[in-house]
Amino acid sequence: MSGWRNLFPNAWYVAVREYRSRATSRSFLIGTLILAVVAFAATQLPVLIDVAEGTSQTRVEILATASGLPSDALTVVDQVLNGSGTAADSSSHKPYALSWFVGGDPASAQSTLETGKFDALLIIDRDPTSRDLAFILRTDMPSDGRQAQMITSATRMLAIEDGLVRAGTSTASVLAPTNLKVLPVSSSGTAAVHSISQEVSSTLLSTGLIVLIFMAIITYGTWVAMSVAEEKGSRVMELMLNATTPLQMLAGKVIGNGAAGLTQYGIILGAIVVGLVAQGPIHQAVLSGSGTSGAFGGLNAPVLAAFVVLFALGFLLYSLLYAALGSMVSRQEDVQSATSPLMMLIMIGYFMSIFGLQAIDETWVRIASFIPFFSPYLMLARVSVGHVEVWEFGLAVVFLLVAIAIALVVAARIYSAGVLLYGQRVGFRQILKAARVSR
């Protein structure tokens, strides 16, 4: 193979050309823009939901005619309707605006309600015989709607509180947390206590990262195959073959298309990060309230580093194979069918890792996490959810590197044979035969 020498600068020129023609193509620009906008919009969903909920405020007029109401009656109702922490966080948005009147004329309250100033009137009275609280709710809102149900819950809480106060105690003291300490199994005291929310969030995170790798390999791998087939289809290949070696072309294409793919990925991820960071300020600007915190739970430096390494190596491995398969067809239309075996392989790895997340300590997951075609997914799953020794990760990376070296040799052979074979789709047997005699 004469191509092993002098890989550069020609591979670099090819890569630059590939990158430019890809990154300036209309489909790339439009696709990137749409995806970035969608990704940014997705991060703003919580804000949108809050906005949708926040703009409708239910105004409730409360007339307390009952004698001897608990002193914290208003707080109890407010807490049920507007959630906890209302006292501390006065700036946050309240779905219910409560106007509290103690004593007064039900008839005038009724007429105020009829003017449309309020959505509902709640009259709190006391049954003279049973001494229990009695409520009247006047409203045109649906009786089984969310607002009516919330108000019903509030009255129930208020009735309980009232009953407890009359019995000489209070809800607060009845519902006070018990004195309970939770400790890990090991008595050494260094292990952290796991929480379900932590586990859920790291599973979600690793699923997200696996999907990121999966999408990148399929989308950008197909780009590589497409660009090889395009060059063959337009017959530039012959001109290129006199100017470069197949290996220079192969390397240039993988690097150029990979870089274009990463550029698009970077822009989309950038839009997501900007979206998450901007969530708070936007929330504040739109709703004048503090926003939800970003969904970064479980993301730490080791997981991020593992992601970057596995992403790069996995992409490299699969791109080489995509390039080889792309060289076996003469037209771009045939790329889809030619690369379907590779698609299957990628899908298998993807589903293994999705199932593997639920059974991270099983032996098959461990074994598969060392197999180069699957390790980008499964090792990542193990790093983010399970427990992985450093040497295990290192071994998987070494296996991947070896697989890439083998794929490079095989792909270059198939490529140099495939690029000159025109006609129908070339079978593997033909390719192997041609690969043996070509340079």
Binding site: S2, N10, Y13, V14, R17, S21, S25, E231, S234, R235, V236, M237, E238, L239, M240, L241, N242, A243, T244, L420, Q430, K433, V437, S438, R439
Partner: protein
């Protein structure tokens, strides 16, 4: 410093594309590969370029194997025109030149020079897909020569071009010859070969059937051709009755006849004078390349070169 192709054999599956092909092409020569479709012309060029590896045999230029020679030695104009459709003409020419090690600045200067020479300077910033076939071929020609190769290989360079573009390209060819380049091209247009080439090789199904200096090839057949025109008798019916004479073509201007080996073509003239014909045209010519081609290639197997007889349905 010649290009020596030494008993190259290349097999694709069951097809023997090149069968022990040997040729020597002198530096500075214009050399023509002739042959029907599938005769092995393209394969031979790809082997010379080291794009394809032969099963056996060697190719050397100036004594060095083509495997050791840098790509820059060769300029290649493939039969299938291929350019990056969406790329601007100037950009892609500079790109190809860079791959051959030419500095971008020099490549741009050369490109603009050649675009000017072809009288299409305004195409520098157009995308290749916007160009006509003829103009694309000019771009491909420029791509083949930008890196100043010593040997220029062109596969069917004139196919599908109009006469004006053919003339332009021929002129560019001859300029490359004047610059001392060795030119090798394949074609099945005999007139072009007769016009441009000093040496030829006729390929048929992977084998060289005739090769060498064009004049020698013509003479080697031993055939003699006589062209005769007489006043008042366009048919010249008596010509076919002469011993050793076979009429090959009856035309408006003259009638062409072949004189067998061992007969003197002069006897045709004497026979005409004896018949008191008024002679308008008499010429003793070498056989045309086309005749040699048909003689050489046609002799080998005529059955494949004619349509099978019409099927008769009852």
């Amino acid at each position: 410093m010649s290009l020596v192709i030494d008993s190259i054999t290349k097999r694709f599956g069951d097809v023997l594309a090149l069968d022990a092909v040997s040729l020597e092409i002198k530096p500075g020569e214009v050399f023509g590969f002739l042959g029907a479709n599938g005769a092995g012309k393209t394969t031979a060029m790809r082997v010379v370029l080291d794009i394809l590896r032969p099963d056996s045999g060697t190719v050397t230029w100036g004594g060095r194997s083509n495997r050791d020679l840098p790509h820059e030695t060769w300029g290649y104009l493939p039969e299938e025109r291929g350019l990056y459709a969406k790329m601007k003409v100037l950009d892609q020419l500079v790109f190809f030149a860079k791959l051959h090690g030419v500095k971008p600045k020099a490549a741009e200067r050369e490109t603009r020079d050649w675009l000017d020479r072809f009288r299409i300077p305004e195409y520098a910033d157009r995308r290749a897909e916007q160009l006509s076939k003829g103009n694309q071929q000019k771009i491909q020609f420029i791509a083949a020569i930008l890196h100043d190769p010593q040997v220029l290989l062109m596969d069917e360079p004139f196919t599908g071009l109009d006469p004006i573009n053919v003339a332009l390209l021929k002129e560019a060819f001859l300029e490359m010859k004047d610059r001392g380049k060795t030119l090798i091209f394949s074609t099945h247009q005999m007139e072009t070969v007769e016009e441009l080439c000093e040496a030829i090789a006729i390929l048929d199904r992977g084998r060289v059937v005739v090769g060498g200096n064009l004049r020698d090839v013509r003479r080697s057949s031993g055939r003699q051709v006589v062209r005769l025109a007489v006043e008042g008798d366009p048919e010249i019916g008596w010509l076919a009755t002469l011993d050793g004479v076979r009429v090959t073509r009856r035309g408006q201007d003259y009638t062409e006849a072949e004189v067998a080996k061992g007969f003197d073509p002069e006897m045709v003239l004497q026979a005409a004078l004896a018949r008191h014909c008024k002679i308008l045209h008499f010429e003793i010519a070498d056989p045309s390349l086309e005749e040699i081609f048909i003689e050489q290639v046609g002799q080998m197997d005529t059955s494949e070169r004619t349509l099978a007889p019409k099927a008769v349905y009852a």
